[in-house]
Subunit: 338 residues, 2 copies
């Protein structure tokens, strides 16, 4: 069941393969009569061009590699959706590979992409070293989402995590909260560190002491939120609000509190980070620092596209505004009971 090739069309339309190629991609004029015959034959035979063969001769595969960490995480999905939309209609196909937050997997994934001759690369998060990223940047049109690499500023798409955390924490402080717990992300990741920093900054600005007992090191998963709550409650920590470094941990915290009979926001206020679409539908709807994940994905796609078309035009670092989506999971602190 060989697939039909331009050779078949040439035979059917009684022209040379070059004529077929020319009419099919309009690279130069073809006599109207032959043109019609070719088109008819192509349609009749159900011809589909072989992208791999085209890529081989043109030197472009028309595919863009996307290195994501966890194909199933709601976080990466929003970005992926943006990427998908960003490439729609461009002729380029994003191809997603998983890094699983493991440097070996990430390297293997990059290799897989390289072998497929991807024309560009989008990397979401991950642990690849700055040096390695710079190498890749030298070889491909590259866009990095959620990372900041020195020297690659124009290729980086990321929000100001410090400011975001500052926003969230300040909001709680303004509502009268004084003892605010923070569940961090993986401490080896820059965004997690930055969010912790923003939290500290907000406390400092309000003249509140930083209490390390109110900081729990999580890993960005739901279960870490549960553990944080267990931890705090277990040692009788007094707190009236929690700021989680991402929404998923906030969900976990909410569940942990619920299991202990503690209500959000009645007893404890809760803020997340990311503002995943699901956060509007949780109970109560979660207040969260809104990252424009979809837009970041879309931007990333548009940027590699631009680099592909105009490799030399400089790109300026984009505006990626952060806002706080205020919902029912926070309320005024009750007067301190002690």
């Amino acid at each position: 069941m060989r697939s039909v090739t331009i050779k078949d069309i040439a035979r059917a339309a009684d022209v040379s393969i070059s004529t077929v190629s020319r009419t099919l991609n309009g690279s130069s004029a073809v006599a109207e009569a032959k043109r019609a015959r070719v088109l008819a034959a192509a349609a009749q035979l159900g011809y589909e061009p072989n992208v791999a063969a085209q890529g081989l001769v043109r030197g472009r595969s028309m595919t863009i590699g996307v290195l994501t960490q966890d194909i199933a995480s709601p976080f990466y999905n929003e970005v992926a959706r943006g990427i998908d939309v960003g490439f729609a209609g461009s002729g380029y196909q994003p191809i997603f590979v998983n890094g699983h937050w493991q440097i070996q997997d990430e390297s293997a994934a990059i290799t897989a992409l390289t072998r497929r001759q991807v024309d560009g690369l989008i990397i979401l998060g991950g642990r690849l070293g700055d040096g390695q990223l710079r190498d890749l940047h030298a070889r491909f049109p590259l866009v990095l989402v959620g990372r900041r690499v020195a020297g690659l500023e124009a290729a980086c798409l990321s929000v100001d995590n410090v400011q975001g955390a500052f926003l969230a924490t300040s909001h709680l402080i303004q509502l009268g909260h004084r003892r605010i717990g923070h569940i961090t992300g993986v401490s080896s990741q820059r965004d997690a560190v930055d969010r912790l920093e923003g939290y500290r900054l907000a406390l400092a600005e309000a003249g509140l002491d930083f209490d390390s007992r109110l900081v729990f090191e999580g890993d960005f998963n739901e279960s870490a939120g549960i553990q944080a709550v267990e931890h705090w409650l277990g040692q009788g920590a007094a707190l009236s609000a929690i700021f989680a470094a991402n929404d998923q941990m906030a969900y976990g915290a909410r569940l942990g509190l619920y299991r202990r009979g503690i209500r959000v926001p009645d007893d404890i206020s809760l803020i997340g980070f990311d503002d995943l679409p699901a956060s509007q539908f949780t109970l109560p709807p979660l207040t969260s620092v809104h990252q424009p994940l979809f837009e970041m994905g879309e931007q990333a796609a548009r940027r590699v596209l631009r680099r592909l078309q105009a490799p030399d035009l400089p790109l300026e670092p984009p505006e990626l505004p952060l806002t706080l989506s205020v919902r029912e999971s926070v309320r005024y602190a009750r007067p301190m009971s002690h």
Copy 2:
């Protein structure tokens, strides 16, 4: 910046390109000395085979097309994760395209895959006609997830939606619920219809009347859940439990009830379908009919792989057991107040 080819290696190792090819994929014996030289040169030059070129000559692209409907939906993501795992280490790369539940988009997506010479196809849901699917099945190793097509039984991976809905509804009935609302999925989709059927069956078996006012037609999105609740409450419908045709609508319903001050499960019990990972972390954790989404994805991958290796070996339709994940969103019905 041309990438290095076997020709480069041949020159560096002072052998012919066929020798290079042979050592690289061990297709036939090569003198140890040359072998070593080739390997060294390849490593030294950082050679990466061009998969497209290999595919061109071998006639296999080593890619599998996956037609998904909504890359961002938590439902498809679980399946996608399974697919990813299923192909891991096989050398085959899944490439995901979006159908958006639009038949045109789906066709366009299939075309995009065809042009890339995919070696196999996995189709998740969608609206493609049975005839079209049969055509595709004739051309590719094909696995269908979430659909049942006559004549393609062995290629279909889907659960018994009637039974699942029956399970859920019966559970509520056993807990004493008599007025159970049902939020359906898109009525043009088979699984939605089947779930409604299971709901009816359970009512019938328990000798309960089917009341069409307790059925609200949704669309599988969260907002439909909210609308259903608004609808029922607006017209003063009396019900003590709700069975939603998927988890996402259950989330919406829960939120709608919350906004009206109605508690789950205190006032109304709630059951979903799918048992998305997130459902364990919602408040309260949602009771739901568990579909083995991840396993379905993994199975799908394994099956195309099998077909690729042993095209003729018959595959039997797999066992895909459904269970009810019972969590806090349901409780005994309170004695009827009228």
